[in-house]
């Protein structure tokens, strides 16, 4: 039996952070500006307006470089809470259309429209774009196709084809059966999983477009790239069977922070770790979870990033235990006074907080009871009211 082709819609909010800022401050409209951190604090462009993009500014670019490109660039500090709220309004609108919504980031989502047979997908997309523009003041681009891979590429193609200097408002539809033809002329690096390394290897074989890859023998791709080769061949032909995943199960709870300036002071670092661990612990307890694995993440000033983790004999939701374990891990990778750019703590292996009681554990029971009291106080009077002393 041939499967009914699915209808997947991919929606991407155009220059999301900037668009939100424009709704709050209409003066920014049409001007080159970027949302992100200050250039002297090593800020990075989180999002940039279409006017700024014309000068070559891109997101994830160091702000200092963006300013060199556009000396009159307006820098707007990011307001993540606000973006989160606006994003939620958009997602809410999508969920009203169908429960099959997979949010993949703050400004992107997939919708499975397969069951909305009596409606024209193009009309659904136009209605969505109009609604989001009129009521939330935000532009967005949409791709519609028979699977997630195609829908996302369709959105990208639509954005690229837009006129420069203004939001693209792309809408691209790839009819079922025409996937391969649509992909064929596109550059290989537009496929998922084709990074610079794979791209270079493909180029050596003379494979520059997605069509080139689709025409190449799959067996040879598998031989060269292993399982990825098989995926590559399928993707190049526009095949992708992955379903819409409606809710991400919480697999870990973590917190991290990037310092505005590298920190080499042991005390400061440990205090930060302590604060992050307390956040993680609070979040675990609020969600009635405990985890067995404690993980730390460290980024050195040269951007190399490493993680270290250890598994506890028993799941924990206790700040003190998380801190103790995280500090132990920190000491295994960091020399005293070694500079750190980013530090993070996480707990995974989550489950219900069952605790094996110990024969001699008066001590840890005390710590747990203390924790409950601290939580209650902080809940009521704010985080500043009380915290654990450091010894």
């Amino acid at each position: 039996m041939r499967k009914m082709p699915r209808t997947i819609l991919h929606l991407d909010l155009d220059a999301f952070f900037c668009s939100v800022e424009e709704t709050r401050n209409p003066d920014l409209r049409g001007k080159p500006f970027a949302v992100g951190g200050k250039p002297d604090e090593r800020g990075v462009v989180a999002s940039c307006s279409y006017a700024a993009r014309q000068f070559g500014v891109r997101s994830a670019m160091p702000m200092s470089r963006a300013v060199r490109l556009v000396p009159h660039l307006i820098i707007v500090p990011s307001r993540h809470r606000l973006y989160g709220e606006v994003s939620e309004q958009v997602m809410e609108r999508l969920r009203n259309l169908t429960p099959l919504v997979e949010q993949i980031s703050i400004d992107e989502a997939f919708l499975d429209l397969s069951d909305l047979r009596d409606k024209d997908p193009r009309q659904i997309a136009l209605d969505l774009q109009a609604g989001i523009r009129d009521e939330l003041g935000l532009p967005c681009s949409v791709g519609i196709a028979s699977n997630k891979l195609m829908a996302k590429i369709a959105t990208e193609v639509g954005k690229k084809g837009a006129k420069k200097g203004a939001p693209p408002f792309g809408l691209t539809l790839v009819p079922a059966g025409q996937e391969a033809a649509f992909l064929a002329p596109l550059p290989a690096n537009m496929l998922w999983g084709v990074g610079p390394k794979t791209e270079a290897k493909l180029a050596e074989l003379g494979l520059h477009t997605i069509g080139d890859i689709a025409a190449w023998p799959e067996a040879d791709l598998v031989r060269r790239f292993g399982e990825n080769g098989r995926e590559l061949a399928a993707h190049a032909r526009g095949q992708d069977e992955r379903p819409i995943v409606t809710e991400h199960e919480t697999k870990s709870i973590s917190q991290e922070t990037t310092f505005t300036r590298d920190v080499s002071d042991d005390k400061t670092l440990e205090r930060t770790l302590r604060e992050l661990a307390a956040e993680v612990g609070r979040s675990l307890r609020r969600n009635d979870l405990a985890g067995k694995t404690v993980k730390i993440k460290i980024r050195w000033p040269d951007f190399t990033t490493l993680t270290r983790q250890t598994t506890l004999p028993q799941p924990t939701d206790n700040d003190e235990e998380i801190v103790k374990t995280a500090l132990k891990l920190l000491h295994t990778v960091r020399k005293p006074r070694q500079a750190v750019r980013l530090i993070g703590v996480g707990v995974s292996g989550l489950g219900a907080p069952v605790r094996q009681l110990g024969l001699w554990d008066g001590g840890s029971e005390k710590s747990r009871k203390l924790q409950e009291v601290v939580d209650q106080l902080q809940e009521k009077y704010g985080k500043g009211v009380i915290h654990r002393g450091e010894s």
């Binding site: 009635d288 004999p313 489950g351 219900a352 069952v354 094996q356 009681l357 110990g358 024969l359 001699w360």
Partner: protein, 377 residues
């Protein structure tokens, strides 16, 4: 050295001592087994410096001598030889051992016996003497409760105390405790207290055989060692340094609820619960239900749930004395505790969902176990 032994004796001896071989030692000689002629018998010894095992087998000694042979090579070879005489001839010059059995001729490169760590020659005077079967049962009833966590070395051992004619073994991993007592046929003049690695006791139980003999135990003064001798085998182990936590104070003196069940029925229920519990956090819930009236039975409902596998629930008939209770345990602990109970019925006593659970064989006061429950958040 020139020695003739029976293949089956040598194979048995090697299987006994090879458990003490340390295969990945930085000291090559520790991967070897010492073989030496010893007063008309052949002595086999292996040690990893913590645990040493020696075994004597019958042999015809035609020329005295000793060497150390790589354990794997010798064991694997002897196991494939026919069940007949095996001749061992050492070339002292080259330290090459010629092994001949049936039509098979082999030369194994050895290391000089001089390099093998000296094993203590024990003075068995004043040894504690216990019947093999009793001693093995004691070991099997406590060692499983010892910790495997290297971070707490003391708990990886079994506290063995001897006071007059009472010998006690206690092991705890921090979450459960098993204490077994026995009465000696002879009272000891002075008390003994030492922490013996659980592993050494397990090895002793394994090599001790099933006979009616006795096990003799001595702890030579100031050596930090314990030595066991049973028939033609000696086991020597380093003692664990440190103070065993006081366990007497954690054994509850009273209870609010006492549940009597068939050991077997309860054990089966636990095994079934474990199939589901092991996928998650190992929790089994025990719902202890006293009889509603004289005419109704009382029972324990054991249940376990796994997000992935599903759920299980078993009802075990019980005699409940005291109030009902919902209490959760690590089902592995509970199962191991019940497996160690030899009586047909077992009593479980507790005072609350967060209070220690006590497990006693009905009709035997020599054995007690304490298991801490799991707290359901």
């Amino acid at each position: 050295m020139k020695v003739i032994v029976l293949q089956e004796n040598l194979a048995r001896g090697l299987s006994i001592v090879s458990r003490a071989v340390s295969p990945r030692s930085t000291l090559p000689v520790l991967s070897n087994i010492l073989i030496a002629s010893d007063e008309g018998r052949l002595r086999l010894s292996a040690t990893n410096l913590e645990l040493g095992i020696t075994c004597w087998i019958p042999a015809r000694i035609e020329q005295e001598g000793s060497t150390t042979v790589p354990s794997r090579t010798l064991s694997d070879l002897i196991n494939t030889l026919p069940a007949d005489q095996v001749q061992l001839i050492l070339d002292t010059q080259t330290q090459s051992l010629h092994v001949q059995g049936g039509t098979s001729n082999n030369d194994i490169k050895c290391i000089d016996a001089q390099e093998f760590p000296p094993l203590p020659v024990p003075d068995m005077d004043g040894a504690v003497q216990v019947n093999v079967a009793d001693f093995k049962e004691m070991i099997q009833q406590v060692t499983f409760a010892a910790s495997t966590d290297e971070a707490r070395p003391v708990l990886m051992g079994v506290l063995v105390t001897v006071e007059k004619d009472q010998i006690t073994m206690a092991a705890a991993d921090g979450f459960r405790l098993a204490v077994r007592k026995a009465t000696l046929s002879n009272a000891m003049p002075s008390p003994i207290s030492a922490i013996i690695p659980a592993r050494a006791l397990n090895e002793l139980a394994r090599v001790a055989g099933d006979g009616e003999e006795s096990i003799y135990m001595v702890m030579p003064k100031g050596r930090g060692q314990v030595l066991f001798r049973v028939k033609d085998v000696e086991v020597v182990s380093q003692l664990i340094d440190g103070t065993f936590p006081d366990y007497h104070q954690i054994i509850p003196r009273n209870y609010k609820s006492r549940t009597l069940v068939s050991t077997n029925a309860m054990l089966k229920a636990c095994k079934q619960a474990e199939i589901f519990a092991r996928e998650g956090s190992n929790v089994a819930r025990l719902d202890i239900k006293p009889a509603q009236s004289d005419m109704q039975p009382s029972e324990v409902e054991i249940s376990a749930t796994s997000e992935e596998t599903g759920r299980n629930e078993t009802i075990v008939e019980a005699t409940v004395d005291g109030g009902g209770m919902l209490i959760a345990f690590n089902v592995k602990f509970l199962r191991e505790a019940l497996e160690a109970v030899k009586t047909p019925n077992v009593a479980m006593e507790t005072s609350g969902p967060n209070a220690p659970g006590v497990i006693r064989p009905v009709g035997n006061d020599d054995y007690i176990q304490v298991i801490m429950p799991m707290h359901l958040g």
